[in-house]
């Protein structure tokens, strides 16, 4: 089995939006629509602090399709246009989509939208056409803080890789980023869909609740 996913180290993300820009440029995402969006979480008070600056913290949360294990969007699709691909990602067959928008309604994260031109559902494809060529998804390739890593959840954290160093060697997540505990790995709130993407956040309180 394969389960491709992205892990984002939120302590490394500087909120430069390069991932979002790269995604829009690579996938020709219409103005006003996003496959990958950066949301600023905070500044929220540090637990036990004064509640005022400097006892606050914030981080940037990159949001998009979470390529869930048990996706609601796939269940509600009447034509199976939304489906689980062989690599475990959630893809949309544009030729089968009837534009009923039930997948848009069913997504717990609101990351799907109706393409204004094609009138079919759209969302992050995890740059599947790049993955099959052995390339990195655009958001991972352009991440200036080396915060985004792509890999196979079934093969474990060791499989997650990112950009190339000046010598042309591909960086491995577990060797490159700062140490983290199992408890530092978070997911977006789970509505029974088991989101595949993960986030690493150290020394801060994860917001959103319903952590897995």
């Amino acid at each position: 089995m394969t389960k491709k996913a992205i892990i984002t180290d939120l302590n490394r993300c500087v909120g430069c939006l390069a991932c979002s820009v790269a995604c829009k440029a690579m996938n020709n995402v219409p103005i006003g629509c996003y496959w990958n969006k950066v949301v600023r979480i905070g500044p929220n008070p540090v637990p036990g602090g004064s509640g005022q600056w400097p006892d606050v913290y914030m981080y940037f949360l990159t949001m998009g399709c979470q390529h869930c294990e048990d996706p609601e969007c796939v269940k509600v699709c009447p034509t199976e246009a939304s489906h689980i691909a062989e690599d475990g990602t959630i893809q949309i067959d544009r030729n089968r989509c009837i534009g009923c928008q039930f997948c848009v309604m069913a997504c717990p994260y609101g990351v799907r939208y109706l393409d204004p031109d094609e009138r079919v559902a759209e969302k992050c494809t995890l740059c599947e056409e790049r993955l099959v060529q052995g390339l990195l998804p655009a958001c991972v390739a352009q991440c200036s803080g080396n915060a985004r890593w792509v890999g196979d959840l079934d093969e474990g954290l060791d499989s997650f890789v990112g950009t190339y160093d000046p010598l042309g060697k591909q960086r491995k997540m577990v060797d490159f980023i700062e140490p983290f505990e199992e408890s530092d790995i978070h997911h977006l709130p789970d509505a029974g869909n088991h989101p595949g993407f993960a986030y690493i956040l150290r020394d801060h309180e994860w917001q959103g609740g319903d952590d897995q």
Partner: protein, 289 residues
């Protein structure tokens, strides 16, 4: 989320169709309404077709429905099956009426079960874990709406029966149907109160820093005293007027066409405004995207 008007109209017409079919079934089980069955069946067929057309208006590429349509876990597929079942039942009723055969008890009972089942299927297709406000309370509203329209259908059919001597009893089903609808509308609030939207604390949309971040502390407050209040209270008041009309009609023998007309108009208003409310409270689990 944005109000999906074709789906508002579709679900309204489905509840009316189910109400009419349920209404004539109840009347048939009481050996009543024989002379209005033809009108009722034609009306149910028209509302079913109107609902079907409305649902097609929602599809951006309806021409692709032959391109693999039928994924059974999809609510749309289940609704289509339900619509076909109702259409078949309408045809059977029509054949019975045309051939002047005795209706018996089996057909009304099956029709009543299918009419209720259709509403359950319709409501069920909107039960989404990803939208906390669309919970079992939504399903109860649709069931209540079917009861409302079922009751009004019986009242209307009795009123238009040729030679019908209107009796107070004839509006009893409308009264109970409306009361059930009112209870279901009010019951939606505690269901909303139990719904939970993920809280991310303070946050900002960095693409539009002038956009005020949305915080939903309580969907119940949002519906009763917030942006959804207008639709909620219009719906409640309109349902109360329908109830008042049924009570007034119960006490007044003879023609009550004015009361019936007011009741139907208010039922339409209540049905539409509450559906708009459903979309107003239909937030994603995470509202920060």
């Amino acid at each position: 989320m944005t109000v999906q008007w074709p789906l508002v109209i579709f679900t309204l017409f489905l509840c009316i169709t189910s109400g009419i079919l349920g209404g004539i079934s109840i009347m048939a089980l009481q050996n009543k309404g024989e002379n209005v069955r033809r009108k009722a069946i034609v009306a149910s067929a028209i509302t079913l077709v109107a609902g079907g057309i409305a649902s097609f208006m929602h599809l951006q590429h309806w021409e692709r429905i032959f391109n693999g349509f039928g994924h059974i876990t999809s609510g749309i597929t289940q609704e289509l099956i339900g619509v076909v079942v109702l259409a078949v039942l309408i045809i059977i009723w029509f054949i019975f009426i045309q051939s002047k055969k005795k209706i018996g008890r089996a057909l009304p009972i099956v029709t009543l079960i299918c009419a209720i089942g259709m509403i359950v299927v319709t409501g069920h297709s909107y039960l989404m874990e990803g939208r906390p406000g669309w919970n079992i309370g939504l399903l109860l509203f649709y069931l209540g709406n079917g009861c409302l329209w079922g009751g009004l259908a019986v009242w209307l059919l009795e009123a238009i029966s040729e030679g019908s001597d209107f009796k107070a009893d004839d509006v009893k089903i409308a009264f109970w149907g409306t009361l059930i609808q009112l209870i279901c509308e009010v019951l939606y609030i505690p269901f909303l109160a139990s719904a939970h939207i993920a809280d991310f604390g303070y946050y900002a949309n960095v693409y539009s820093m002038t956009t005020t971040p949305l915080h939903i502390d309580s969907l119940a407050t949002y519906a009763v005293a917030g942006p959804g209040a207008l639709m909620f209270w219009i719906s409640i008041v309109a349902t109360l007027i329908v109830l008042a009309c049924t009570i007034a009609a119960k006490r007044k023998a003879g023609s009550n066409k004015v009361l019936l007309t007011v009741a139907i108009i208010c039922a339409i208003v209540a049905s539409i405004t509450f559906r708009v409310l459903l979309y107003q409270v239909g937030f994603s689990l995470t509202v920060i995207y």
